[in-house]
Point group: C2
Chain length 582, copies 2
Amino acid sequence: MPTLRLALAQVDPTVGDLTGNARIVRDTTRRAADAGAQLVAFPEMMLTGYPVEDLVFRESFVRASRAALQTLAADLDTDGLGGLAVLVGYLDADGPSRMSAEADPARGPRNALALLSGGRVVTRYFKHHLPNYGVFDEDRYFVPGDALQVVRIGGVDVALTVCEDLWQAGGPFAAARVAGAGLVVNVNGSPYELNKDDVRAELCARRAVEAGATLAYVNMVGAQDELVFDGDSIVVGADGAPLARAAQFAEELMVLDLELPAATGTPPAEGAGMAIEHTVLSEQLPTPPAPRATYGIADRIADEEEVWAALVTGLRDYVVKQGFSSVVIALSGGIDSTVVAAIACDAIGAEHVHGVSMPSEYSSEHSQSDAADLAERTGLHYRVQPIAPMVDTFLANLELSGMAVENLQARVRGVILMALSNQEGHLVLTTGNKSELAVGYSTLYGDSVGGFNPLKDVPKTLVWQLARWRNADAKRRGRTEPIPANSISKPPSAELRPGQLDTDSLPEYDELDAILARYVDGDASRADLVAGGHDAAVVDRVIGMVDRAEYKRRQSAPGPKISPKAFGRDRRLPITNRFREA
Amino acid sequence: MPTLRLALAQVDPTVGDLTGNARIVRDTTRRAADAGAQLVAFPEMMLTGYPVEDLVFRESFVRASRAALQTLAADLDTDGLGGLAVLVGYLDADGPSRMSAEADPARGPRNALALLSGGRVVTRYFKHHLPNYGVFDEDRYFVPGDALQVVRIGGVDVALTVCEDLWQAGGPFAAARVAGAGLVVNVNGSPYELNKDDVRAELCARRAVEAGATLAYVNMVGAQDELVFDGDSIVVGADGAPLARAAQFAEELMVLDLELPAATGTPPAEGAGMAIEHTVLSEQLPTPPAPRATYGIADRIADEEEVWAALVTGLRDYVVKQGFSSVVIALSGGIDSTVVAAIACDAIGAEHVHGVSMPSEYSSEHSQSDAADLAERTGLHYRVQPIAPMVDTFLANLELSGMAVENLQARVRGVILMALSNQEGHLVLTTGNKSELAVGYSTLYGDSVGGFNPLKDVPKTLVWQLARWRNADAKRRGRTEPIPANSISKPPSAELRPGQLDTDSLPEYDELDAILARYVDGDASRADLVAGGHDAAVVDRVIGMVDRAEYKRRQSAPGPKISPKAFGRDRRLPITNRFREA
């Protein structure tokens, strides 16, 4: 059996940064070559970043992607890396965009994967299964490929596949079995969701067995707008047993030797409804240099750690890729703003995090003391800016009462945050959790002000859970617990009127989150919820609030997706919707 | 030749309002029956409204839609209308949602059209061609139908089709020819775009000739969130000649007699790649009562009038369907807020429109006098609320300079508008035009505050054009010109610093709009724009501003779509995007 030394590059491209992404490929390929690798695989649409959305319709972008690929092939050769086979995802097209009824269904943009070697593009594979659900709109953007590419590398037939090709039955993996491939490479831009790593690992095992081949799955890491990529690259034997698995949420270069079956003869020209195209790059390669390259199986991390890492990664990449270097957060001493501040400190360092306490006449004593305690524990920059003078001036000039006065306080805070952002250049973080966002328990242009919301997809009960985990983790490591105990234990309040508590307006969060999980994530009906044991009046109140809050959600800041249905591209509801569950 | 009396119901359903929409069907069918109609056609997804987006994934909504259809069939019969054939669009499904990779591609939700008669559902057609571009995501939501339904009504074979079936070649229209249909009915939820009516009429003529059949095209009217439906229903003879055409932007019930070929024999079981299913409802119907029913060809309206009607319709339906009864607008005396106020007065009546002048120390004298003039001309409610006390208090408490001070003024105005909204119940209208939105020339949470933006898709040069048209139209009718001449003629300024003009930051609007039309709507490249005669430095400045403003646009209020690419569901770009046109 030939031995192939494979490198999987779990890296972090940036959408649109063709030059920077090509630089990552060159640098990483150099490292892989230094480790003796013969085949290096990068994630889906590595050169363009993923997802590029409507950039697909910009012909100049397609041209730039194709040109960057040619340049990269030549540059790798110039770098002395032409002897390696390098798999790089990019955007290709053989016709105009699909943006109309008249578009030719057989021509248009492609989610493409190129094999580069010897200074040239050896072969190109076009993604066959296009996902068009959840956050994905690939039927809108791409024409599916109908030919499996099989490349003989060092005498081993390697089949090329992209992401969704793994998730749907039939197609490329079935064709790879017909082709007798010894290795299937699957390159991914597969977004994180809580518990998705387990599903993915099982699926990899199943498809490897179906294809009768070793499977090498490489995923990107990092974040793009609301999507977080967790890496978790994996290699699975033809028997479905895991051979190697990378850490989650970290850049990794996995290099390992694989014993693979030598190809015999030429694959048939078609199989499983696809054409099979065969290219011979090399019938034999030198045995990789000693010592044998191995890579272990990284431990899975606990759920809270996983979510925390996703939120930190999502925030860090948003700040960095948007070109900010600092953030500002309104600190109320409550659990949401406290957890956001702790995430921000972990993501970009406390020296880049600015907290502002903005007490009003209704703010509790502990509002300021807990915020100050947080600042001391984490080392973030802290200041106090009372809002009374501004609020009083509005009240003296306008006739306001009730809810208008409550919202006014939140809006004055929003104006202050944005003024600090304009004056000092910080990105404003907003801190409304998923439960609040679901029921619209926030002030539009008030506490919802901000460019990014780390808790957008985190239900309130999970916010508390994360806070406890983060403190416990710090304690385990002998570090200062960042989150004041009082911020965790006190009853939540917006503090916009005397003695106000969240439970004046909302059910207890345990019950609220249980209802929301089923209604929002599960699309359950009112009848399902009542049958599930929830009080009918509570259910009606909650789902009524959710249905009326769509407009607010539409204007909310982006935030990292961690659930099956975040309030982002994965859930698209009309603002005007008169349907009421009966 | 049999004569069939056809009624096309150009009506305005509301998304999710199954009861209200069924009520429209019953009332309109009653009117059609009174006019002697034998076949009545309602728009696409009449019962549910359109588009319902992710409501498709709510099984309780699907069940409610199916149940409402059965109830409607029975109610029509109880109403004594069971003798008519009534075509009603609705949501159907024969399996769970498509929201995953594992979904059965042959089962799931359907964009369906039912023929109701005699108290029952006689037949159901499932839309074959699903649009998945622009504002449409139907591949995400629906399973395509593969059987053309042909129903014999009064001895005429009538083929049923839905919307996109008309726009794409092949499929139902080709199958209708094979089936020998005498009439093809096409029901629509086809959103308005400037000049789309011409394209649509030509397409109807072409498809009628291709099918060799009379074509009856019925479209909805009104608006749903950002989409405006212009009606423009049309009947075209088998030779492609228009027989009747409804007015744009008005509810209409077109009733007309059609001489149609008598069906002979049974259609073949398949054609043009589709199954053909034939149902006989009636071989003969009584001759419709005299006099003969005719319907003329409504005049097309001029471009400015068409856009104005779209903006009025979009605003009116948003206000009404969201349950508001009044709006509040910041009046600066400038052209944008003035035009928005005039649109609002036309949409919901001046007595429901509240204008607020919020002068600052940088406001010109004419800022207030022009706003007051507008109020007098239109009769809207007008008040003055100076912002100096609030601005001064912020400045006394925060260290701000430059842009932060400019934005502060806009944000204080935003807080005042939202306070008035909370206190008095008005919907806040925001007034940033498409040119400003494109380049990000606005203050986030300042002048962008609001629930709806009538000018979201209207370039600045078109705002002026509309103002001139509206005044000229008023003059023609002997009415007061609503828009002060000075608001049209003065140079645009944000008035956030002394002597500020838009041209300090932006090119002249003629040039800006010319660049934006090509870059935004046309996806032109920098090279295209420079080759088109624009100065390279200006192009670079403009497209750089556009690329950086995606985040602001993402948080902007909805507004009526009038162009091929509004800043809504039809244009989806990453916020983080490092691609720079070379």
